[in-house]
């Protein structure tokens, strides 16, 4: 069971997202992460979905997604070379000597501190899924107060383009 990333272009209609999400619960597929927003054409939304499964399962998922009338086009990103990114905002306890240490970790991971109080740093970090998880481990779960992750977005490398 590998992590698979599917990118979907779909109609920017109110019912479209519920049809996509509904398909997953209906057919017993699981969703690891999902994000969606309009593209440069505001009639179209792009949805990036991460799921787990073997080839046979992913084939069924993509076929069934394609059957949804609101789905215009899709690719399995993870089938070829791609770049993935995820944005995380994380609030950590930063007091005493920890303040300097956390600051150093933020620099190493190329993150930014976007809000500061005497006891707290709010940090923004962009990267692939593993990098964000590694950062949480690096600062130590004990200091973490709150984590917000957007879920994975991805795009193909090179000439390959997903558009109409």
């Amino acid at each position: 069971m590998n992590k698979r990333i599917i990118s979907i272009l779909m109609e920017n209609d109110p019912g479209a997202l519920s049809r996509v999400v509904g398909l997953f619960s209906q057919r017993g597929y699981n969703i690891e992460s999902l994000n969606v927003a309009p593209t440069e054409d505001d009639t179209i939304s792009r949805l990036t979905l991460t799921t787990l499964g073997n080839d046979q399962k992913i084939e069924q998922i993509t076929k069934n997604l394609n059957k949804i009338i609101d789905v215009i086009k899709l690719i399995e990103l993870s089938e070829s070379a791609y770049v993935e990114r995820e944005l995380m905002m994380i609030k950590v306890k930063a007091v005493g000597s920890l303040r300097e240490e956390i600051k150093r970790s933020v620099d190493i991971f190329r993150g930014q501190i976007i809000d500061v109080t005497p006891n707290i740093y709010t940090i923004q970090l962009v990267g692939d899924n593993e990098k964000l998880t590694a950062f949480i481990r690096a600062v130590g779960e004990a200091v973490v107060l709150e984590v917000v992750r957007t879920g994975i977005s991805g795009i193909s490398r090179g000439d390959k383009v997903l558009s109409l």
């Binding site: 109609e11 019912g15 069924q60 609101d70």
Partner: protein, 578 residues
């Protein structure tokens, strides 16, 4: 340009779409639409007695005509009552458009009177759905809904219309689009040439081929092309429950239905075959039995218009996405042009083996049920009806033992004569579906095989039959028990009949039929069976309710043994395949 209200836009669009019949039931949120119906004469509304029946009647009409069935219901309970019928159509890929009234758009989400989120409730059982947000969109949405319902893999489409969208005080221009295109929807009709040539080669190299057809083969010229290919190659053909009639059942190349209650020869031939040509069938669990034991020696060619049906349960060696009509046309061409030809000795040996199976346990070489007692057997009832109607009736069924007996013993020689709920297995389907069939062909003899369990699930429709003078013939195979469940209780629960008996609470069906203005005939003796059936079918313009008492202890056989291969069956209460 003509100005009209949303309700009138809707009715005009239905007319321009070619809709003749609209099965429905009025209610608050649909009242503007009903008033528009009253003010026109092109689209005929049929008033049923329950919204479930509206969907089943539209479904029966669609199955017989091949056209889209049309339904109109109100919001809330009207919409939810239609759900079972929508799910039935969805599972069997029947084209249908269901228009539901909705509370005014300003009230949506406020838990208004008779408000249900129809878009949400129906989402998993529709091909697509629309909610009207601007009355001027109505004609375009209707055009798209019918296009989606009928094209590709057909299915039901819901159009939800908030009441304010049909307000008679607001007028709009009527524009009916000549053509609609949906950028995200382009069903793949033509099969891949290379795959088709590969399929032709595999087919011609086979020594033990079987053609396996499903409901998808009924569409368009499917039956004609299936018959042409099968007869040209002289290969055996089996059919799913849904595919019956795609190939003439009384022809010698037809080896019977396959699957859970398929014939011995069909299931055994599948299991032993070296090539399966699946045409518009979906390898569902009522056919395959245990997936890991499915037809171990067979190479599988799978033709289907729905890519998601291919390799869903059984991996296809040669998948071909396309319409049955287009792919078979090309396949026949490819077979004709191929340098290969079937090994005739091998084919003859294959036929000899199949004919031995037929002789040994086949349903059609001799009666496999016990006729030594006085009790009428359910199988005999179907055989007798087949004889009296000369096999030409439009046949609907409910669900249970009678349905399987009808499938086994009413040999269908023509497509679109068999109207049964295969995928969902909906009890209550029979009478309303028969009504839809009678509307589709007013001259036809329409038979509804049912049982005393199923028939009570939509029996109120006897009143609709009175109103519209629909002379359907109801063959109630009365075993005074929920027979199929009882059979499973016999086989798996040591005959503990949990809630499958009615303790003398059944109505007098004769009086009940008469109360609705129909004829009721009770049959309890075998020697009366033919005579009473002749009497029944001679009454061309009456609904006749035949209440036929049959042996309660009869089981449907063959029956596949769970978790085993296609070919592992119980052949009677005591015999099983090795």
């Amino acid at each position: 340009m003509e100005k009209m209200s949303g309700g009138d836009l809707l009715l005009r669009a239905l007319k321009d779409e070619g809709v003749e019949l609209l099965f429905g039931y009025p209610g608050g949120a649909a009242l503007h639409i009903y008033d528009a119906i009253y003010r026109q004469t092109d689209v005929r509304h049929i008033l049923v007695r329950h919204e479930q029946a509206a969907t089943h009647a539209a479904d029966g009409y669609a199955r017989v005509t091949g056209k889209v069935g049309s339904v109109l219901v109100t919001s809330g309970p009207g919409a939810t009552n239609a759900i079972t019928g929508i799910a039935t159509a969805y599972m069997d890929s029947i084209p249908m458009v269901v228009i539901s009234g909705q509370v005014p758009s300003s009230k949506i989400g406020e838990d208004a009177f008779q408000e249900t989120d129809m878009m949400g409730v129906s989402r998993p059982i529709v091909k697509h759905s629309y909610m009207v947000q601007d009355p001027s969109e109505i004609p375009t949405i209707i055009r798209k809904a019918y296009y989606l319902a009928a094209s590709g893999r057909p299915g039901p489409v819901v159009v939800d219309i908030p009441k304010d969208m049909t307000d008679p005080n607001n007028l709009y221009d009527y524009v009916f689009p000549e053509k609609v295109s949906i950028r995200s929807y382009t069903p793949n009709v033509k099969g891949h040439g290379g795959q088709i040539r590969k399929a032709a080669t595999a087919l011609l190299e086979a020594k033990k081929p079987v053609v396996y057809v499903g409901g998808g083969a009924i569409a368009a010229k499917g039956p004609e092309l299936v018959t042409q290919l099968v007869q040209q190659l002289n290969v055996p053909i089996t059919s799913t429950l849904m595919g019956l009639g795609a190939y003439p059942s009384s022809d010698k190349q037809f080896i019977g239905m396959l699957g859970m209650h398929g014939t011995y020869e069909a299931n055994t031939a599948m299991h032993k075959s070296d090539l399966i040509l699946a045409v518009g069938a979906r390898f569902d669990d009522r056919v395959t039995n245990a997936l890991d034991k499915f037809c171990p020696e067979a190479k599988i060619i799978h033709i289907d218009i729905d890519p998601a049906s291919i390799s869903k349960t059984i991996a296809a060696h040669i998948p071909i996405v396309g319409s049955v009509e287009s792919v078979l046309t090309d396949l026949i061409k490819a077979v004709d042009q191929s340098k290969l030809s079937l090994d005739q000795d091998a084919l003859q040996a294959w036929w000899n083996t199949i004919n031995e199976w037929r002789e040994k346990h086949g349903l059609y070489t001799k009666n496999r049920f016990d006729t030594s007692t006085d009790m009428i057997k359910p199988q005999e009832v179907v055989q007798a009806v087949h004889k009296v109607t000369q096999g030409k009736a439009l046949v609907s069924t409910d669900v249970g033992q009678h349905q399987m007996f009808a499938a086994q013993y009413y040999l269908f020689d023509r497509p679109r004569h068999w109207i049964t709920s295969g995928g969902l297995g909906t009890m209550g389907f029979g009478i309303p579906a028969a009504m839809g069939a009678q509307f589709a062909d007013p001259e036809a003899t329409v038979v509804c095989f049912t049982g005393e369990g199923s028939v009570q699930m939509c029996i109120q429709e006897l009143s609709t039959c009175t109103q519209y003078k629909l002379p359907i013939k109801i063959i109630n195979i009365n075993n005074q028990a929920l027979g199929m469940v009882r059979q499973w209780q016999d086989m798996n629960y040591e005959s503990r009949y949990a809630e499958t008996l009615y303790e003398d609470s059944l109505p007098d069906f004769i009086k009940l039929a008469e109360a609705y203005g129909h004829v009721g005939i009770k049959v309890t003796k075998r020697e009366e069976l033919y005579e009473k059936l002749e009497e029944c079918f001679a009454m061309k313009d009456r609904v006749v309710f035949m209440d036929i008492y049959v042996d309660q202890n009869e089981h449907v056989y063959p029956m596949q043994i769970p978790l085993q291969s296609v070919g592992d069956m119980m052949l009677s209460k005591t015999e099983r395949t090795s």
